[in-house]
Symmetry: C2
Subunit: 297 residues, 2 copies
């Protein structure tokens, strides 16, 4: 279940309230495209900005509209007891898995993070994905900590932040992680610009920002990776203008919100403030890039 | 009001619930010591881990037990609408000022942060302290952004993260910030190890972690800074073993929690999980340092 393409939809807001119809529209779009799983309330899904009630509503809406596609739900929060409450609500909503990043305010130690995952796995009856996202959490996992956490009963997958660009280095990097994990624990790459490299280097899954809004463009990379490395790289290279926008705007969320607004999948100003949307100039650039890519509308 | 020593008390927990008697005990200790202000729900006060109801209770308890000492209240959160709700609750509780850090999950832009402060100052009737804490927020203010924000009606003070160790460099640093601020906006130093340097370099205030638990040790530095630079430096140097512990344990919160637990001012495991308290070995070291310092018990 924790293999292939997991699509991370935005959680669009409108006037600072959940835009549930827009969110449901995104989920239905992902189901229609044929993604392997949907991860609601990932970083791109603004989980860190939403309160308990909003998160529960998003989880329920995702499960209700995902059909047979398994739904994973992000449960991160600064405090362990809040994480456990989100985990419980996600399971009640029907989540098939939980995604947990070590969200921090005060810098965390390895022991803090290990005990957090131990608490969550021992309180949950569905599998947990370890979400390594140093850009947003400022916590850097070591391979040793992957090993300690992956040995916990209930850990299903590790979402790693990226792989080296060089194919041999990428393969060695993935193998080094694989070597310390139980065989049933999968490795998923994130950092969309590195997804093709990660899949070709042996990652089992792609936890994907772009797939949340443009699932077909992402699926082309995933399918090509299974048969033709050169084609997978070409499909990723085709999206280079998008990866460039991600790099220039602090990651994918602002760019993908602009794309979704541009395509009519979300209303204007769909991000939670204080995150301002892109400026008019940057939106025009996004529109040009999307038009030039011949991606699904 | 935003000058002198502002003490940042811990918000002790017990079994993951507010330990209100312990918090009130800390507030009363600060009042008795004669600090110039109390900042409840600073970083050391775990604001980033507490929900809306807990924060409102802490703010009310602080004001109720602070007597004539002005109470400032931290209102930071990832989402602007949550910040505004905390601001309203703090004002209802009787806060004399609000402390706001640009708490982030997704990296913030300068415009995001400016608009956040604009929203808060335009919705609040009490002054706002700009809380520059890159260690916890990962946002780095520029001097230009200090200037833009300080020009907003309602900004009272800038809490800067530290000053260079060299006295001339420190003075130049503070003067460079002072030059862009309206004359009524004060500059307060944080980073306790640099407090003496900051005060001697011209900072108007010290926003102090240590003062939240050991106010007299902090007051000695502040008083000496007004008359004798050498004595202020000596008073700070005397606390070097404590600054060393701060540096080794990711800032002050874990060390001060251990000190408060050691002194019977908080119960065991007073920090919000996932923040583990110090190990037994490190607690023993804290106890030795405190015993050697001849600070108030």
């Amino acid at each position: 279940m924790f293999t292939g393409l997991s699509a991370f939809p935005l959680t669009p807001l409108h006037h600072d309230a959940l835009d549930e119809p827009a969110f449901i529209g995104l989920v239905e779009r992902l189901v229609a495209a044929g993604v392997d799983s949907i991860t609601a309330l990932g970083s791109t899904g603004s989980y860190a900005y939403l309160d308990r009630d909003e998160r529960a509503r998003v989880a329920r809406a995702a499960v209700a509209h995902a059909g047979d596609v398994p739904v994973f739900v992000g449960i991160g929060a600064t405090r362990t007891s809040q994480v456990l409450a989100h985990a419980e609500a996600a399971q009640e909503a029907g989540a098939a898995g939980l995604l947990l990043a070590p969200v921090s305010y005060q810098p965390l130690t390895e022991d803090d993070v290990f005990e957090l995952f131990r608490a969550v796995t021992s309180h949950s009856s569905v599998p947990v994905v370890v979400y390594d996202n140093p850009r947003t959490t400022r916590f850097t996992f070591t391979t040793e900590l992957y090993a300690r956490i992956a040995a916990l009963q209930g850990i299903a997958s590790i979402k790693v932040p990226g792989v080296p660009a060089d194919p041999e280095a990428a393969r060695a990097h993935v193998q080094q992680i694989r070597a310390v994990l139980p065989p049933e624990v999968t490795i998923g790459v994130s950092g969309d610009a590195h997804a093709a490299d990660g899949l070709l280097a042996g990652c089992d899954a792609w936890y994907s920002v772009i797939a949340g809004t443009l699932p077909e463009a992402a699926l082309r990379i995933v399918r090509a990776a299974q048969s033709s490395p050169a084609q997978a790289r070409a499909e990723s290279e085709r999206l280079a203008p998008l990866w460039d926008l991600f790099a220039r705007h602090g990651g994918g969320i602002r760019v993908m919100a602009a794309v979704a607004e541009q395509l009519g999948l979300a209303q204007e100003s769909s991000l939670p403030l204080p995150l301002l949307g892109l400026t008019e100039d940057h939106r025009a650039e996004v529109a040009r890039v999307i038009a030039g890519l011949d991606v699904e509308q």
